[in-house]
Symmetry: C2
């Protein structure tokens, strides 16, 4: 049993994560149905095989006309045109618009031959086969030209794109049925500890149900991962090693990360892989660590639930998001507001302080022990105090990352 | 065929949505497994049946001691204590700590009888059965007291809570296996139009694959809904009515919302339900509308894809989020930055302008037709210009809602 000799900085840890994820072969791709593609990360550059629209189409409900036939028309002196047909979406008019005639047309319908503009319905009144027009249109007015939205052979979305709802709409418009996206990172959560009961059990005597496994599963799924949760593993090196070598992309180890007598994981990593970082200059989460075994990145997350959440947010989540092709940054909304009370830290370590909003002010949560999970459920978010700061005076405007 | 006589304001539409959703019976509840509960909205107030921790536990790896035995200990003059046992998490020590003795203890382990503090391992050196201590601890130091995190019979999470990952952890810690949450709103997307092909088809002649259905499905799922997508429905009133009466919470109608000859839906709503709003003073999406039929809210979304996206974001999404117990506001991140070019609007209507970031400046996307879906895939987000504004001069700082 001994303390940490030297603690790494948060920046050291980020740098190791970034380098390690980038030097690793990217996750393979998979094909998904378009209707399931939102929120996935594209791995192909999509080139359209079609122009959208493929034909001249009306942008308004109204009349397809020859623009020169409208010149001089006004509410005071309307001009008559003879209605010779109708163009509906998907059912174009067969007629050709010649001098003095017009074709009734709907939004999205093909513009008939001969017409070079669409006069909106608001500028017309209809009497049997005649339409009286009370406005002018210039050539091309209210007509969408072929390729206006997408040109044939144009790249519409690049590899690496996080697919938004409208991207999915666009892909459908150019006839895609499936797209190629990055596989989700596969995450295994190992929970060890003889005192831990599986989730769903009631606390008994000195044994407590696992809170970190369910929390980590939700966090990693939020970050786009495909997650499995191990049974509770006894403090047994052989069983722990087998789990560490299960071949997933990232192993999250809850508990057993410190330097205590039964903390086998750091030793296993050092022996069978790499223990790159162990002990970080931050509070909470100072016993956090990271390394790898085979192709799997391994994050050692402290058993204390606040430390576990913090270490996930700072380190494991970053790696998982990057592997999945997402931005490394937190997804939390950031809000600036003044501190209601001072927030004290120590130079040389990063602090993760839970806070809540009260009347537009930021109030530090008094109960701040790393074991007090309810401090993160009572909090609206957290403030990060950098290593070179002693904290902030009351009234200082701070950035709050809001839990979601 | 005629234009809209009077357009409602955006505020009128929001007010109708808010009143209608609030006066509607709330969606029923369902029980979900805890491991699937993140992101759901709680409908019960959760009271803990247990104290957490249930026993005095160590917050550090170190030695459980009587604090008075440590007084005077320093690196210069360490004091010896005799190690009489070990306390592990889940396996308490049987021994009682008396004067001159200590029990080796791990983080999370029960504090043995007789001890009133834990001395961290960093302040100790061990020689066989003796530990030399080089620091003092006051009573209670490094001990988590029962109920410190959660007190028995305390309300830990209130009804209406959007469950975060740490909430799921907390619920697990107090022995919950399932929780009661609000059912997801059930949404039916109706796509009508003789020219529309189902998603997954290639564009042919004057027929185009549906882009709005896939986009709306992704949007509504993002907002927590359970979504089904109809087949493409011909412009036939009987079939449209049957779909409108399918009994879901919200029907989204893409296309067929305007006042053209084949726009049956507004007539059906007026005849068989209520057409509350039709025509809104905004651009795009001015033909949007809303009403209800039976218990279902119905949103008429213009067929033009940008209008459809905008009308979803302004109206349908708000109703869906509220029904599901979420906040009505957009989930888009908001960023303020100066305009690179002026952004022109017209007093009397709200404008939804697609923009992109260029060198920290906000550049309006030039191609702004409501039919140009690629304007929303090229954009980084949008700026809302309120009805009382003629727009903004270059250099004005504007709020951009970032697409995600």
């Amino acid at each position: 049993m001994r303390g940490f000799a030297v603690r790494s900085t948060v920046e050291d840890a980020w740098s190791w994560i970034d380098t390690t994820v980038q030097s690793r072969t990217a996750l393979d791709c998979e094909s998904v149905e378009l209707l399931e593609a939102a929120g996935r990360v594209l791995t192909e550059t999509v080139v359209s095989q079609f122009s959208v629209p493929a034909f001249s189409r009306s942008m308004m409900d109204g009349y397809a006309v020859r623009s020169e036939d409208t010149y001089g028309a006004s509410p005071a002196s309307p001009l008559p045109l003879r209605i010779i047909g109708s163009s509906f979406p998907g059912r174009p008019a067969a007629e050709t618009v010649r001098g003095g005639t017009a074709v009734r047309i709907m939004t999205g319908a093909p513009v008939p031959n001969g017409a070079d503009a669409v006069l909106p319905v608001e500028f017309t009144t209809t009497e049997n086969e005649l339409v009286q027009i009370s406005g002018e249109v210039s050539p091309g007015k209210n007509i969408g030209i072929p390729g206006e939205d997408i040109r044939k052979n144009e790249s519409v979305l690049n590899a690496g794109r996080w697919l938004r709802p409208q991207d999915v709409g666009l892909l459908s418009a150019i006839g895609r049925k499936t797209v190629t996206v990055r596989r989700r990172p596969r995450i295994r959560i190992l929970v060890s500890g003889n005192e831990i009961l599986p989730p769903g059990n009631l606390p008994t005597d000195f044994r407590i149900p696992d809170s970190n496994g369910p929390m980590l599963k939700a966090l990693a799924e939020r970050d786009g991962a495909c997650v499995t949760l191990s049974d509770i593993i006894p403090d047994d090196p052989a069983q722990l090693l087998a789990e560490l070598q299960c071949g997933v992309d990232v192993v999250l180890v809850s508990g057993g990360s410190s330097v205590g007598q039964e903390d086998h994981i750091p030793v296993l990593l050092r022996t069978h892989g790499e223990l790159a970082i162990h002990g970080i200059a931050m509070r909470p989460s100072s016993p956090a660590g990271m390394g790898r075994i085979g192709r799997s990145l391994v994050f050692l997350l402290p058993g204390n639930p606040v430390s576990c959440l913090c270490a996930y947010d700072f380190f494991a989540g970053r790696a998982i998001r990057m592997m999945g092709g997402r931005k490394p940054e937190w997804t939390y909304h950031r809000v600036s507001a003044p501190l209601k009370r001072k927030l004290v830290s120590t130079v040389g370590r990063v602090d993760y302080a839970r806070v809540r909003f009260e009347n537009q002010e930021v109030e530090p949560i008094a109960i701040s022990g790393a074991s007090v999970l309810s401090s993160t459920t009572r909090a609206d978010g957290f403030v990060v105090i950098p290593a070179d700061s002693e904290g902030y005076a009351a009234g200082t405007s701070v950035d709050v990352y809001c839990y979601e």
